[in-house]
Structure formats: structure tokens, C-alpha cells
Symmetry: C2
Subunit: 510 residues, 2 copies
């Protein structure tokens, strides 16, 4: 069977307002689940030895930010206390919204002096409970630090404050024929500083690699208010230890990132997506191999989802499957500079996929709306599962060839009370394993954890591929990191934040 590009069978699904850029906002309104229990009760944790915010502290904050950007209205703070997944709820009484690095510095200097704990918050799209307070930490929202400082069209170097929304950066770059090296489902609300703090990966990771390579400079404020200027608008700098790397992926526990410079690649002039159905996971692996060898430098993403995910995006969000039903679906995106060349490569690839019988059906999308509707299937799985019930989320790296085994294992293990879903970044060996039950149940959780983590560690995988440890996973760090490494992390935390006021209940074990 040969599938030509003319034989597109894509549909425009009906909920066009469900744009990818708006996930957090949509979920706030569409979700019928409200988490009323506090994290501290749910997880039985104890408050650290921090001070309590006094009226005098509030007056100090007001002297720094003005009255309007010091928020104590509980109804406003409400959404900043709960994570996007509705799985953790803090009880902060104070929300601060700085606009400049100097303001962040003054706030932290005061908090450090008064021993007040602080939860730095970006877009609050995190999935491991690292972006909301656990107790009454002051929420330091970076939302208003949203200025783009400069874009250099020749070198592709972007400089901005850390509170810029990822999608806005992409839009600003597009007018210079550039693009962000990072893309993820939450792009419409996540902030670049949060992306860096969690070392976010997303769907362009396959093409542009880790943020650790793309980020050229940062500015960060330490717990005591000192501003560490690692800003840079040059591509290469080997003068001393690369300390900015410490702040990337440390989830706000070592400092608050206030400024970013990042290398933006040239925006590809043509993007295509192919979407296939396959019978087995082994067939997906064969498709992966074929894609890597046939599509080479134009490959930009290789993703997969299983039939249970496809069912939910259909049922919960009304997004239809563009091809016939299969146990697995394979999504490959190409991006390049010459439409004819990319088209030729992709045609040949599609032909090979179908002729080899690794793919049983497929469709090709070359125009933007159709490409987006295929991507929506993949990117809205989290949203769909959230509508269905409480999601126990696992974001694990595994040896690629064994990546799906755990989904089958969990289906047997969990029985009928739960549904188990598998999808993720096939090209990166990164599985999103999701278990959904009607509501949160500690017994179900005990069935999953630490089993999933132990299993992952036994295969030398990572218990958190891209989401970080946050509050929810920090106790499992020992499965991936040695006691010596954890001890070194604690020493570095002690060096940079001696009082431990920054995001105190996240990342490192107590």
C-alpha cells in the first residue's frame, strides 16, 4: 500500500478554541475536580522552622513593589496555591509580583534576613508539585518579568526576562525567521524561567537537544539577594566553572532565575507530520529506526501514543482519530528549509513504512492546521486524562527497546479500578506512564509507588526524565543518584542557600 501526500485523510476537529497554548486556563475551567485537602495533610509532612509573615513584612514588601503587586487576597492567591493537575495544594497567604531583578533581590534579601520561606513560581504548569507552596511559603510569581531585551537576527541570540511566556518568545522570534529550541504542550502559559528551572525538554528535544546546550546565559538571584550575573550574548565561553548549569534544573532551590539568553535556531520554512497506526510496540521501534536513517537532519520529533490514549482524547475532548484504529500510533515530524526536498524524503519514508508493514495505516499533514490537529492528539492526552479522573503521572526514561513493558505490567498489576496509559517521546526513550482512577486514593498510590520507580531504577532508567523531582518525587532521588551525589547536592544547597528558604520542600530529600 502506498500513501501519497494527496491522499490526506485528516480532519479538522471541532474544538478549535482548545488551542495548545492555553492548557492551564482551559483546565481551570473545565475540570470538575477540586482538590480541597492540603498537601501537608495528604502527604503528612511537617512545616520547616521558618518565620511567619507579619504585617511588618507585608509593609516591607509594599515598600519594594508598591501595594498592588503585594497580594494577600485569598481568592486571588487560590489558583497560585494549587498545581495545574489539582494534586497538591499549598496555603500561602502572600503573593508577590516583582517586575525587575532588583525587586527580586530586595525581596529575597528581606526573606533571608527574616527566615521566611519562598516558593518561586513561573507558569505553574509543573507536574511534580514543585511550583506551588506546601505550607505558607511566600509565592514569588515571575509573571510580570516579561520583557524581551534583544533579538540578534544574525546570531539568533535572544535575551529576555525569565517571566516571558514560551509561546510569546516563539512569536517574537518568528518575525526574525527564528524559533525557540524548545516546545511543549504548556507553551501558552509556561514561562521560560520555569522551563530552565525544570530543565524542560518537550517535543523539539530530538532536534535541538538539551537546554543545557542552548542556554547561553542566565541571571539568578541567590537566597540572600545577591545577583549572580552569568548573562551572555556569545555562543562560547570557557572561563571557569559553568555555574549557570547549577540553576538549570534545580527547581528554584538554589536561586531565582531572572534573566535568560538563549540560542534560537533558524525557523524551518516547512514542517510536515506523518501519523501511522501500528500493531505492536516492536513495529514502533522499527519505524523509529527507519525514521532516523531515512529522515536524518530533517527529523524534528518522534512521538507515540497507545490506543487507550487515543480513546480518551476522542471521548473526553472530542478529537477524532484521523486514521483507522490500531494498538499504537506513531507520530513523526520533519522540519527543513526546502519543501520539495523534505517532501521527497518523507514520501519515500512513508512508502517504506507501509511497504515494510511496520505501519498498517497512515496519514500525512503538510499544512499548518492539519499538522496542529495531529499534534493536538498527542499534546492533549494529559488534558483528556485530567477530565477522566485523578492522574498518577510517571515521566520515566527507560532503555528504548523496553520502554513499553511497564505499561503492560501496570495494567496487570492495577486491575479494574484504574486505567493505564502509555505515550511519550519515543525518539528520546521517554515514557509518560499515566494511571487514572476516579479520585485520589492512597491505596492505589501504594500499588504504584515505589513499584514503578524500583522497576525503572532496576533498568537504569530515570524516575523523572523531564518533569523534575518537585515535592512529589524527591523521596525517590536515591533510586537514581548515589548517596555521595545526594550529599554533594546538599552541600551545594547549603553553600548557596544556607537557611534553606528557597522552595524548601522540593527536589532534595529532607
Amino acid at each position: 500500500m502506498t500513501l501519497a501526500r494527496s491522499a490526506l485523510c485528516l480532519i479538522n476537529y471541532s474544538r478549535s478554541s482548545r488551542c495548545l497554548g492555553n492548557i492551564r486556563q482551559i483546565s481551570s475551567s473545565s475540570s470538575n475536580l477540586t482538590l480541597t485537602k492540603l498537601t501537608s495533610e495528604l502527604y503528612d509532612v511537617k512545616r520547616g522552622p521558618y518565620g511567619f509573615v507579619s504585617d511588618k513584612d507585608i509593609r516591607t514588601f509594599e515598600s519594594i513593589l508598591g501595594e498592588q503587586r503585594v497580594i494577600t487576597d485569598e481568592s486571588v492567591i487560590e489558583s497560585y496555591n494549587v498545581d495545574w493537575l489539582n494534586t497538591v495544594r499549598g496555603q500561602s497567604k502572600v503573593l508577590l509580583k516583582p517586575k525587575t531583578t532588583e525587586e527580586v533581590s530586595k525581596i529575597l534579601m528581606h526573606c533571608n534576613e527574616q527566615n521566611l520561606a519562598v516558593c518561586p513560581q513561573s507558569g505553574n504548569t509543573g507536574l511534580v508539585g514543585g511550583s506551588v507552596p506546601v505550607f505558607d511559603e511566600i509565592i514569588l510569581s515571575m509573571q510580570l518579568m516579561n520583557e524581551i531585551t534583544s533579538i540578534d537576527p544574525l546570531t539568533g541570540i535572544l535575551q529576555c526576562q525569565s517571566g516571558c511566556i514560551l509561546e510569546n518568545l516563539n512569536t517574537a522570534l518568528a518575525s526574525h525567521n527564528l524559533t525557540m529550541p524548545l516546545d511543549l504542550g504548556a507553551k501558552g502559559s509556561c514561562l521560560i524561567g520555569g522551563n530552565l528551572s525544570t530543565n524542560a525538554a518537550g517535543i523539539r528535544f530530538l532536534r535541538y537537544g538539551s537546554l543545557r546546550g542552548s542556554v547561553l546565559g542566565i541571571e539568578a538571584v541567590l537566597a540572600d539577594g545577591r545577583v549572580m550575573d552569568f548573562s551572555s550574548t556569545i555562543r562560547k565561553d570557557n572561563t571557569g566553572y559553568d555555574l549557570k548549569q547549577l540553576f538549570i534544573g534545580s527547581e528554584g532551590t538554589l536561586g531565582v532565575i531572572t534573566g535568560v539568553s538563549i540560542l534560537a535556531p533558524v525557523k524551518p520554512s516547512c514542517v510536515n507530520v506523518a501519523f501511522f497506526g501500528a500493531d505492536t510496540f516492536e513495529d514502533l521501534l522499527s519505524l523509529l529506526k527507519l525514521a532516523k536513517t531515512s529522515l536524518g537532519e530533517i527529523l524534528s520529533a518522534i512521538e507515540f501514543l497507545d490506543s487507550s490514549c487515543m480513546k480518551e482524547v476522542g471521548e473526553q475532548l472530542g478529537m477524532p482519530n484521523p486514521i483507522s484504529e490500531h494498538p499504537f500510533y506513531f507520530l513523526v515530524e520533519t522540519s527543513g528549509s526546502n519543501a520539495a526536498h523534505d517532501g521527497d524524503k518523507l514520501d519515500l519514508f512513508v512508502e517504506n513504512c507501509l511497504e515494510s508493514n511496520f505501519a498498517k495505516d497512515g496519514t500525512l499533514a503538510t499544512d499548518l492546521s492539519k499538522i496542529q490537529s495531529i499534534w493536538n492528539l498527542r499534546e492533549n492526552i494529559a488534558e483528556a486524562l485530567k477530565c477522566k479522573g485523578y492522574t498518577y503521572k510517571y515521566d520515566i526514561s527507560l532503555p528504548t527497546i523496553k520502554m513499553y513493558d511497564i505499561v503492560n505490567i501496570m495494567r496487570k498489576r492495577m486491575g479494574d479500578d484504574c486505567t493505564v496509559y502509555g505515550y511519550g517521546h519515543l525518539g528520546d526513550g521517554n515514557l509518560h506512564l499515566n494511571v487514572v482512577s476516579k479520585e485520589y486514593d492512597a491505596n492505589i498510590l501504594a500499588q504504584i509507588e515505589p513499584f514503578v520507580y524500583d522497576y525503572t531504577a532496576s533498568l537504569k532508567g530515570s524516575i523523572s526524565a523531564e518533569h523534575g523531582l518537585g515535592f512529589k518525587k524527591k523521596k525517590y532521588i536515591g533510586l537514581n543518584k548515589s548517596p555521595e551525589a545526594i550529599s554533594m547536592m546538599k552541600n551545594i544547597k547549603q553553600l548557596l542557600d544556607p537557611k534553606g528558604i528557597l522552595n524548601p520542600y522540593t527536589t532534595l530529600p529532607s
Copy 2:
């Protein structure tokens, strides 16, 4: 004027034995300069408060390594005491050659207990005096730790010991249709652990980005012998602080890297090189812009050299210029998966370059020997200058549009006693500024330094783009890094190597 691929005017230069892979060995024999003065005399530095190696220490080392791998023969140690450029000379009396991580661990544990300073050495191809001892540090050569542990053809993940030669890794990967994400002139003798320790960049940086993104895991031994296992064969892992980054680019001052895992991209099936002559640096910038937009995803390197460099590779090494003489030369390499597509893109690019008049002459190379002879021109500049005299080397990052100004400024400043050369990685804004005099002269050095560094810093450039600080540049770190940052580096050094035994005279200021 149109230049078709059939009109190749490349020559095969006569010194085929001068292969790129052999730079260090060649220079040892071909150079007529021998540095007899010790670094400590040349630079007036004082020995640190370290112990002296005793017979008892030697016996301990022999008990760990056996007698053959504990070398005290001065004639053997000679070449390990002097750097490749013949610019620094140490006075070590002991050379150790471990084969395993366990041996490295035992050696360092002993050295730490006895307060003996250690100089970890890889291929000794460094350019800033970071790879040789300054006084009598024990040389810990990693040359024998050269085993490849595994190569995964599906994911492209390579695991090896840190003493593997870069070119050997590339050869091993080639049989799996993979390639190293890193390539540099010294590939025939540099070791991957040294590449990581100096955060080497090289000519594929433009395509595959920083090692900080490509390196998935390392194993490192701390000063006290503790083995830090950050090894990983997965692409994504966000569990805690990414401590391996501390060891990348820290020039052996925080630990000795013993194992590496790295992501190898698919080997491009076709490589092409175009080489142009241009009248002005502004024309090179126009060519750069054209290359980035026309060649997109197949771009793999954009380099330049000036006419003075071309003259020396001709006169010193007998390599002829394949095109007519021009003030500047522009080298662009493409690599991709489809020869026809790449050829079409490159033909169009060449046509545009010549029609726009930014390029005045040019040649295109599509077969390996011709490609290599063009690359040899660029990669052997350092070798040619070394034959000419003493080289004062500056490896600086600058805003790309101002990148060449400093070459002209230095020509005026230095007068007739010296010759000034400019070449480098145009696509990365990384200039190699070289000044050559007959022999080392402190007065000439004083004319160059700190002037070049101050100038670079005034433009927010980097005083060491890719070579590191080593011994020779460490005192200028303050031009690029703030006092707070340097203080934090010292704290981290103190944390990981409290006695300061590892490469004690490099990277951080005294």
C-alpha cells in the same frame, strides 16, 4: 559568474603524511623550538604547600599499578612536562598510567592523604597550559584508559573510558552509521576525557552544539578518591542537580573524569565543502547570513581565515591555496542524508554567493580527499604558525559583526616585530587571534596582554571561548566573571577538593 560542481579546482597537496590526526606527534619532531625555561621561572609563580614525592609514595603507586606503569625515567616524562605549543614546561618526576577507575581512585586517595599535587593529563593538546604540571605535580596520564564499553546503534549512545582518542571513537561509531558530535584539529591525539574537561567545541559545534547537551553521563573521581557515578545511558534525567556539569570544563580541578557516555548523531551520508575568497570581512558576514538561511539544516561548519594565515600554511607546510588570492577565505561545510538534495542546495548557495558578489572566487569539494585538503588549510594554521616562531594565542568570543576589528587593531599596535593572524569559527563568533614573534619575548607579551583581554571584555566577549583558562589565562578570569561568581567557584573547589591537590595552578586565580 556561476561555479558548477564539475568545475572543481582542488589540488591534492603533497604532504599526505601530515594527517590531521597526528598533530602532536608531528610537532614534536618538526618544531625547531625547544622551551628550556621552566614555567615557574618564566611566569614567576610560587610552588604551593604540597608534599614531595618520596620513595615510599613510589612504592605505593607501584603496588597499585605495577612497576611498568609508574614511570620515573626523565626522558620518558619529558614530553609529558611540556605542552604541545612549547610554551609551558613543568618539572614532574613521576608519571602514572592507570587503566581503571579503581586505580585512579586508589592513586588519588593516597595523594590526598599525603598532600601530593596531581596534574591529570589527557592528550596534552591543550593550548592554555592546563595539561602539564607547573612544578612537580604527579602526572596522571589517562592514555591507557581507552576501552569502549558499548555502542547502542538504535539510540546512538556511546559509553567509554575517558582515555579514548577522539578519532578512534569516531571510527568505532562509523561502523554503526554514527558519528561523534565533536571534531577538532587535534582529534588524532586528544582524549575524550580531556575534551570534556575543557568543554571542547571545535568545528561541529555549529551543527551539534555544546558538549553540555551531548554528554549524557560521566564518572569522575574526586580528589579524595571517592568515585562519583553520574554515568547514564539514557537521554533524559531530571533527578536533582546535574552535578556532572561541574566536571565539564573545569580542567581537572574538581575531579578526574574516568568514564563518559555521549549521544552520537547519525553519520551524515554525504559531506560537501565550499571554499570562497572575499574582499572584506563585511562580505564574510553576508556570506554567513546567506549560508544560514540557504543551507539550514545541512549546515555543519562555517569557518574563515585571512590571507596571512593562507600565506603561512602555504609557506610553512606547502599547502597551496585552491583558489585565487583574496584578503579573506570562507569555508562552509554541509552534511546531510541525501546527496542530490544537498547538492541542489549547495549549488544554489554557491550561485547566490558569486552572483551577489560577496564571494569573488570559489571552489566546491564533494569527495573526501578534496574535502580534507580544504579542511587541512583551516586546521593546520596552528601548526604552520608554530613552525614560524613563538605563538601568542588568543581564543576569544566577540560579537560576530565586530569579530575581526581586533586583528586590524593588533596589526597597528604590534608593528613589524610580529605578525598578526585571524581565523576561526565564524558561525560561532569565535576568533582565533594569533600573534607570532621569532621567540618568546616578555615585552611583546606585555604589548598584547592585558590589552586583548580588556578589549574583549569591553565588548562583552569571552577571553577564552573554547580553550579554557588553564595556567596562562587564569589571572584574567575577573574580566569575564564577577567577584561573586569567582568566589562561588572557589567555594565549590573547596567543597570538592579541600586540599587543592588537583591541577592546583590552573583555572582559578590564586
